[in-house]
Symmetry: C2
Subunit: 384 residues, 2 copies
């Protein structure tokens, strides 16, 4: 009996008397739900019914996204793929049925990863709870979705803001961690895929990091907020922002709009010693650009799954930071990450300039398992 | 060029040099994206590529959910369905491919409706913006996701809370509108499908309703919060709550936990004249049960797409409300709604007891188009 049965029983009760025979027949047509995913010991089997499909492939977030193993068709037209031995973590997966990528239609736990919907699967370890799991006995901060005037764009834009538990009642002020998403993400990415609220609650509860406010902007110049808010719009004119790859408008808006908004609307400390900035992938580029342009703003700088792109020079990006002074320069990128060569260039620049830094490489590739792990490593180093 | 191209260009740049020839070949295998939906005048065509499927059907939220017209296969194996003349509104749709229901894999705009993911489509009218559209020039309230101690459940649970613009700066206090979701929904339903923030912003900005706080609990006894937060869990023991159909635990928690939490943590007015309660479908049942048990709490009561179920007596549900006194009793249910016979029983009870009420029936069926319209009609009647 599946969890979402709760949701349909009442509707079914209400419907029963209203259904004519023909409707009942049509309603009965979809086959019994396929069980997917199914855990059996350390094996997990994923299934999708597609009796007439020619080719069905699988992708899991623990693989490269170019890795697409074939699924196997059984006699019922159900295609299966089994994995075993996954480390405890929170993963996502998709099916591709004859060229169409989709989340698992038989599992409720979808999550949006930028432009696509994927399905969550949690592989639990023996030591519970994992930091990313929700734990009812822990105290919890809250998450705000708040609008601010973005003068750089001439419109309002939306932020996700994590406030640690006790924020409302506190007489004190908090430092601020600005955390940027990657390409295709938005202000929802860190709270959903990154599970930032659960991770921060976990660390703060255990005294592993300081209570802090975490501000997660929408870094895309072409949309004001997650598409759930701004509604369907396929107008190609919305693409017309030549600055997007560099994130210049976003970077300007960070110091012109976002930081002033946060510092005037929340109980936060000011000054560079109370500000941290980090970003993953595209957000890592924005971090490099922002700290190069405004090295006076942040004492704590984190570049995740990114580094110096080939057309840039790391010493140009880093020299202003070195000159202005900083307390932490942090690079997280695994050697299997698609951005590893960029990270290598950044690390080489840090070495060349003889700058202190922390490098954290014991992470998988360009995926959320990496970035959640990275936050657990990085946040305890901030504001200490 | 699709909107989400923004998101992938950077990844593709980063990837280009890393891809081997085999990977490029695999990456090229998925066909060019199908354009879906495509608008052409007042026609909208929905498409899905499924060359080997035997039967593909369509469902739109403007239909009964038992209505599943066949889609037509064209020469490329793309199945199509075209609709014309839809009234301006925000709809959702799904495909069913050989028995598997799914959101449109070629359109980013998915939205969760309880246990299923559907795809949004906005049909825009000539007068823009519609109340449910995000408008950058309007002032916007904020949305909080906040945890409270639910003593009835012995655990923390999550609320969505809408705070009108100006809340932070205001010296005043606000009335509170408690708004409950339907079966299968959760505390995300009103903010996403119900677009409550956009609707409230729209009405408040135009002076159509009073600024108010809107509190949207998770009314399901078996989960503490939306499944995005509590993570995948298919444990059937979680179903074991005999009270769920009546919502007894939720109803108790409303007056034991939720109202006291809201009134001690937010700048809100107290007393029944400053509290409104409404709910749709299952949430309508909970509204009836709560106001029967605690008629002293709310002066404004709304039952949406629901009424008195066959095993109940409307006079039993209503007499305590009549005796305690109230300012508004509001019923919204269209005659095509699956809950219409329940609404008829409730309306008969109101008449039998000679109670004043407002009935609003100019709405479609058991769907979010109805409930958004209903909020626009109901909220202006609250706290006036």
């Amino acid at each position: 009996m599946k969890k979402f049965t709760v949701g349909v029983i009442l509707s079914l009760l209400a419907l029963a008397s209203a259904m004519d025979a023909g409707a009942q027949e049509r309603a009965a047509w979809p086959a019994a739900p396929v069980v997917s995913p199914e855990k059996n010991g350390d094996q997990i089997t994923f299934r999708i019914k597609a009796p007439n499909a020619e080719r069905v492939t699988f992708n899991g977030s623990w693989m490269s996204f170019m890795e697409n193993p074939e699924m196997t068709r059984n006699a019922d037209g159900v295609w299966e793929y089994t994995v075993s031995g996954l480390e405890p973590d929170l993963y996502q997966y998709t099916f591709n049925v004859d060229g169409v990528t989709m989340a698992d239609p038989n599992c409720l736990n979808h999550v949006r990863d930028g432009a696509s919907y994927r399905t969550w699967i949690a592989v639990k370890g023996e030591d519970e709870p994992a930091p990313y799991e929700f734990e009812s006995s822990t105290r919890h901060g809250k998450l705000e979705k708040v609008w601010y005037d973005a003068s750089v764009y001439g419109k309002q834009r939306r932020l996700s803001v994590y406030l640690p538990y006790g924020y409302e009642e506190s007489d004190g002020k908090y430092p601020v961690f600005y955390l940027q998403h990657g390409g295709g993400g938005d202000e929802e990415a860190w709270p959903t895929l990154g599970r930032i609220c659960e991770l921060m609650d976990y660390m703060i509860e255990r005294g592993l990091c300081k209570p802090m406010v975490v501000v997660m902007p929408n870094c895309n110049p072409v949309v004001a907020a997650s598409h759930e808010v701004t509604l369907p719009d396929r107008n190609p004119e919305n693409m017309a922002d030549p600055d997007f790859a560099e994130g210049i408008s976003h970077v300007k808006s960070m110091y012109t709009d976002i930081i002033p908004f946060v510092e005037s609307h929340y109980k936060v400390l000011t000054g560079k010693e109370n500000r941290a900035i980090a970003g993953l992938s595209m957000g890592g580029i924005y971090t490099l650009n922002l700290t190069q342009m405004r090295p006076d703003l942040f004492d704590y700088i984190g570049v995740l799954s990114m580094g110096t792109t080939p057309e840039k020079k790391a010493v140009d990006q880093l020299t202003p930071v070195k000159d202005a002074g900083y307390k932490l320069y942090y690079v997280c990128c695994g050697e299997s990450d698609i951005a590893w060569s960029n990270a290598e260039r950044l690390l080489a620049g840090l070495n060349e300039l003889d700058m202190d830094y922390v490098y954290y490489g014991d992470v998988p590739g360009h995926q959320w398992e990496t970035w959640r792990k990275c936050v657990l490593d990085l946040a305890p180093r901030l504001f200490m």
